[in-house]
Every structure is written in C-alpha cells, then in structure tokens.
Subunit: 195 residues, 2 copies
Amino acid sequence: MSKINVRDALLETGMQVFHHQGFNATGVQEIADGAKVPKGSFYNYFSSKDAFAVEVIDLYARTSSTLGILLDVTLGDATARLHLYFDALIAGRKQRSFRAGCLLGNLSTELADQSELVREKLAVSFADWSRVLEDCIRQAQHAAAIDDRIPAATLAALLLNGWEGAVLRSKVDRNDDALQQFRVLTRELLGPPKA
Amino acid sequence: MSKINVRDALLETGMQVFHHQGFNATGVQEIADGAKVPKGSFYNYFSSKDAFAVEVIDLYARTSSTLGILLDVTLGDATARLHLYFDALIAGRKQRSFRAGCLLGNLSTELADQSELVREKLAVSFADWSRVLEDCIRQAQHAAAIDDRIPAATLAALLLNGWEGAVLRSKVDRNDDALQQFRVLTRELLGPPKA
C-alpha cells in the first residue's frame, strides 16, 4: 500500500470502529488489524490516538456533509429543502436500524472531558454543521416562509441539538419514536409566520 | 464495612467514576480502589460490570429524580413548576461547569449497542423520566395554561430529548449557549394556547 493508502485505510477503519463501539473500547491494534497494516505504522501517521480521533471526526464530518447539498442556498424553496434534509437524516438512521448513532454525538459524551484536542474539534464540527442549517433557515425567513421571531442561529442550534438528542434516544429505544417526534419539532420550529 | 456498606460504596464510586470518565475507560479495579474494598469482593455483589452499570443507572435515576419534586402534580401552577424544573436542571449543569453531562445520555451513546442489559435499563429510565414530565404537562394543558395541539407525551419527549442534546452540546462547547437556547425551546413548546 502507498503511504496515502495506508493513512486512508487507517482513518476509514477508525471511523467504522469508533462509530460502532466507541473510542475507549477500541485499541490501536484493532484499528491497524482492520486496516491490514502493522500496528507500528499507525504512529508513523498519527502522533496519538487522540490526534487520530480528530482526523476521524474530520472524515466523518466530510462524509456526512454530502447530505448538506440538500441545504444548498443556491437551490430554491429553502423550507422544502430543510424538511427533505431531516427526512434524509431519519432515513439514514432507519437504514442502520437505529444503531451506532451519530459519531459526533458519541464522541462528545465519551471524550469531551477526556481530550481537549477532541473536544475542540467537536465544537468546531458542530458549529460548522449548525451554520449550514442557519443559512438555509435565514433564506426561508427572508422569503417569509418561516417565522422569524426566533433568530436563524437559535433555530439551527435547537434543530441540531434536538436531532442529537433524538438520535441518542432512538439508539436506546431502538425504534423511530424519537425521530418521528423530532419531525413534530421541525414542523413547529419551521412553521410559517404567525398572523 | 458491612455487606450493605460495601455494596453502596461500590455503587456510589461507580456512579462518580462512570459519570466523569465513562464505562469503557473505567476498570473494576479502579472502582474497587475508590470504594476501598478488595477487587475480588466486587464480584460477590455484582455478576458482571454490565449488571453493575444497571444498578448504577438505577442509583443515578433515583438521585436525579429528587428534582422531580418540582413537578409534583399535587402542587399548584404546573407551568411555573415546569419552568422552575428546567431552571434547576440548568443550574446543576452550571454548577458542574458543563462537565460530565448526563450519565443516562453518556451511557446511552457509549453502551446501547454494546450491552442489551444496559440498553433496556436506559430505555426504562428515560421512559420513567418522560412520564413525570408528561403528567405535569398534561395538568397544565387541562388547566388551559399550555397549548394542547401537541399531545403531552410528545411534548415531554421533545423536552427530554432536547435536554439531552443540549447537555451533550454544552459539554462540548463548555458554555451555557445550548442550555439558554433550550430555554427558548421550553418557552415555545410550553406556551399558552393560541387564539
């Protein structure tokens, strides 16, 4: 394998394994085995397991942001796109039978107090995600399609954090109750201006 | 120490340590050391680390439910009590400088796929918590103090899951932004009936 391939294979494997069993339950040996490279080479590419997690978060955020195309502000009807986006997120959860959850959420609860490096990366990743939602919501507010009593940035945070809570709950309940309830929330918060 | 004291000391220690560093990062040895008992005696009281976690969740739920007195349906003005309750939850998070998070939420993301025993206990604990909120919300809806377009059970789930998401986010951001935004959500969802 070329250097780039080894690095990518380690990150891809790390993303899968961290997503399914978390950070602390996963050893560097297991990641190296999964990527079919010797354990020693892990440290040729990453200075520590924490530094590796930061790059895994980056890869996950990039992979997940593919869906963000649905929120692209150059497309029309921002409200319809927001609802489409949340439907797509829910479909993704169903496809995985509500398991694994959101890797950002999982690493947040597990590592925020354990690694300052990881905590800072997670904070930036959530802020980036929230901004994409905020831009789309603001566009809908400007078009007077969504009530603007609550600022777009606050609505984006409520939807993002509400989503994280719903994913957490559906992982525990292993059904889509919390996700359907979350759709009630999106309809409440993204409703048209009140007369 | 008496048998009951050893058991309680192990559970108290487990609750503290799991809350601060999670389940997989904590060994039985560390819990036994913290409780000042020999490691061997851990297995006299608990058949496995998973079974121990189930009892820790029970202890945490009982400890946390003390605040539930604020939601007691025999007291007056259900809406005021709901707002008081969320203020108290937020004050608790500030007191801990936004660290540790909610133990139920932490164990959910970390263990729901790893231990069926723990997953089921978490599902029941969240359902119990949601029911306390639901009863108080229903009381306020009956008094026509809260809009009843959305059923009390759904509102309770949205608030509970929204709370879990807000706690997760404030743990990552290490500030109260997400908690203050959550207060916007409570005011939205617990508003008076629309004319």
